[in-house]
Symmetry: C2
Amino acid sequence: MSEIKSKAMAKTELAEITFDDQGLVAAIAQQHDTGEILMMAWMNAESLALTLQTGQAHYWSRSRQSLWHKGESSGQTQQLMDLRVDCDGDTILLSVDQTGVACHTGRRNCFYRAYRNGEWVEIAEVVTSPDDLYGNK
Amino acid sequence: MSEIKSKAMAKTELAEITFDDQGLVAAIAQQHDTGEILMMAWMNAESLALTLQTGQAHYWSRSRQSLWHKGESSGQTQQLMDLRVDCDGDTILLSVDQTGVACHTGRRNCFYRAYRNGEWVEIAEVVTSPDDLYGNK
């Protein structure tokens, strides 16, 4: 699969996506070759357009209430390989090639805690320290 | 990995999950052995407890505003193999063993439309017709 870049969606294509009352749609990022689920975030129409135009994942940060080019601070960008939508249009699946680590904790993906034998256990180690990811940038 | 069944989470463990203002948390279901993303749905605390108690995925249907034992109508249940939570606690990842098909359209997963060359194209076929899934039950 090759990287995809595309013009913004035409209205008819955009209509297949069901944005919620805040103008957002859930977006799952999956590593294209291993199937690893990296993270879940949110997109608005503008971040979706930027993702297609640049070929790199852009989200909407609900906590910062701003556009978020994934990796803008850390360099850990996500190259878009394929973009899918689910049956009822309210979730997007981004097949990506993740540079480095997806999680702000420095782990490869955000789902590093598993519920086993009645407690949460960490199942993935920090690959890159957050200081290295976000320090002096 | 073996099926997990567990008592409902203790309060301290449940506190790691960030339910939204409607009492819901996003839940991604992934086929445990292939990495295929099957669907994305929502859970409340009760559906999470039932999932752990029964070892089968239960969700909260936002459209029906009711508990939803996945497969209750169609027989297409999801056996829980592992349960994970992401870094900020607002998304759960269910590693499951899907019986049959996950999507109500009869496709194996819900993400069967891909945006390629400026249009949505179907990339997966119907495996079991919805009539067979939901008829006469």
